[in-house]
Symmetry: C2
Subunit: 334 residues, 2 copies
Amino acid sequence: MKFTVAVDAMGGDDSPLKVIKGLNLFLEKNNNLNFLIFGNKDLINPILSKYPLVTSSSTIIHTNERVKDDLSPLEAVKKGKNSSMFLALTALKDNKAQIAISAGNTGALLVMSRLVLNTMEGVDKPALASMWPNHKNMSVVLDLGANIECSTKNLIDFAKLGSALFKSIFKKEKPTVALLNIGTEETKGTDLLKKTSKSLRELDSKNFNYMGFIEGSDIKDGNADVVVTDGFSGNIALKTAEGTVKFFANKLREKFKNSFYAKLIYLISFKIFKDIRNDLDPRKYNGGIFVGLTSPVVKSHGGTDYIGFYYSVLLCYNILNGNFQEQIQNNFLD
Amino acid sequence: MKFTVAVDAMGGDDSPLKVIKGLNLFLEKNNNLNFLIFGNKDLINPILSKYPLVTSSSTIIHTNERVKDDLSPLEAVKKGKNSSMFLALTALKDNKAQIAISAGNTGALLVMSRLVLNTMEGVDKPALASMWPNHKNMSVVLDLGANIECSTKNLIDFAKLGSALFKSIFKKEKPTVALLNIGTEETKGTDLLKKTSKSLRELDSKNFNYMGFIEGSDIKDGNADVVVTDGFSGNIALKTAEGTVKFFANKLREKFKNSFYAKLIYLISFKIFKDIRNDLDPRKYNGGIFVGLTSPVVKSHGGTDYIGFYYSVLLCYNILNGNFQEQIQNNFLD
């Protein structure tokens, strides 16, 4: 059976062009998805005429409306019932698709998703997860900002959701799970974290290995496949890491433009730098994954290009192909 | 008048050798400090014989005892009343020195400092601050882990303490202060942060400019001289940034060792890489500063070498030379 992705074609910079080109790139490599594309047909059809692969795997559902980037989530919900974003989520609710993707307004997407879709049985709050590169491969980190304040139950849910996600994407039987804290000893951190850590140990899940606390500096080691935290700390960690990478990359660039000699070195080591950029290309980790609802919703970065959008579509495919929702059910039955 | 620094000579790796060598390096550049050195004279004196500059500016106070690295803060306090760390703090309390420095057990140093020294009038909780390199220069970030949970009053205190610190070190009249949050709009974040932001605006201090919220990714831009946050988020941000720098540096190293050609490039660009390492040398930002007590206490990294220790001593000097405690008093009178 081919899975179907509900696509908001109108979100983010340079849409719908980048969206169609991203879908095309995916289909060139793998024709195992169908798309329900929501957006303005007057803008979409002229592009589609150049991408027959996309045309043959897609159905266009026309709407004039889109959620603007500067709307507050509340305004978006109020005014956006006919928007491409809202309609894509409705298709998910009506079982016409198994996952939805949008590069639009993040806050609006989260609020609309919760409004249109139910939370899965057993889950109190959905969470925003994403992939972090590490020395070994990738980790799933969640929550990244959907829930500022979390209970022990929420954090345990995130452990179950995150490990199901890791399992479906990377096909690992029993992912390792850690709680983000300000020290690794059991005595460190808030009472809530100590209590959650104890509960996770007692849970002794057969679907993931709980390994205890890790610190922010340990995320990159890759010993924890899944890093669980509340949405406030998770967002601070994510943004700080992004800022640090930019800072480091800028320093590097500066130094290699500093003198004629440095520029020359840069030129002859072009391939090496290209390789580093390629390795650390943020487009490859592009895509927040909103988990814990009856269907997953993928948020592509608004500013990314069609290659970044392609990686988000690939993420959708991997999530569906790895039976993510079934993995979650196992984790919650455990 | 020459200031006096109370030095715990026994803390951290390779002490007391690195401590004495660090003091010597400082005195070679600037003889404007006296030192009260606490530690085992049988270990210190043989080293001192090679560093006459240190000998002539120091008084040694002998003790056999030191705080071990693996002690919990509570055990350290219980057993360590005669340790070099405790005695250095006591000298501070007795006005024999104006600042104390240790490369020993962080938790023990924080707890002992609070036990020995009083908080400054008007301050409820002291905070751990440190310097972060940014695109422009440096920021002061606090709290980095001394207080897991903070009230509005605590965060406002941190704004006053942090701006006094920035002012004393960098001689800037009115530093900019920002609150770390998960978005820059006034509607973002916890109720506590919204309330604190409102209070900081209303305070309209003549000693610092409150600029609102910033995100983790903004720290490196350097628009905020002082970044205020609770100790949990601050620690997560700091550790995540440290881990990210290591990750990036490792990637770079890997790539430049990947092939004969890459190794060759690395060799001929050695000076550039040295320059980058020098620019980002963590020893330059070495030193947590415990502020809000009747005297400041500087924590040098346990693993740093004598150059790192030298930078912490330089930090002590700059803090004293910039009349830090007086700056705080101004901020709290404001």
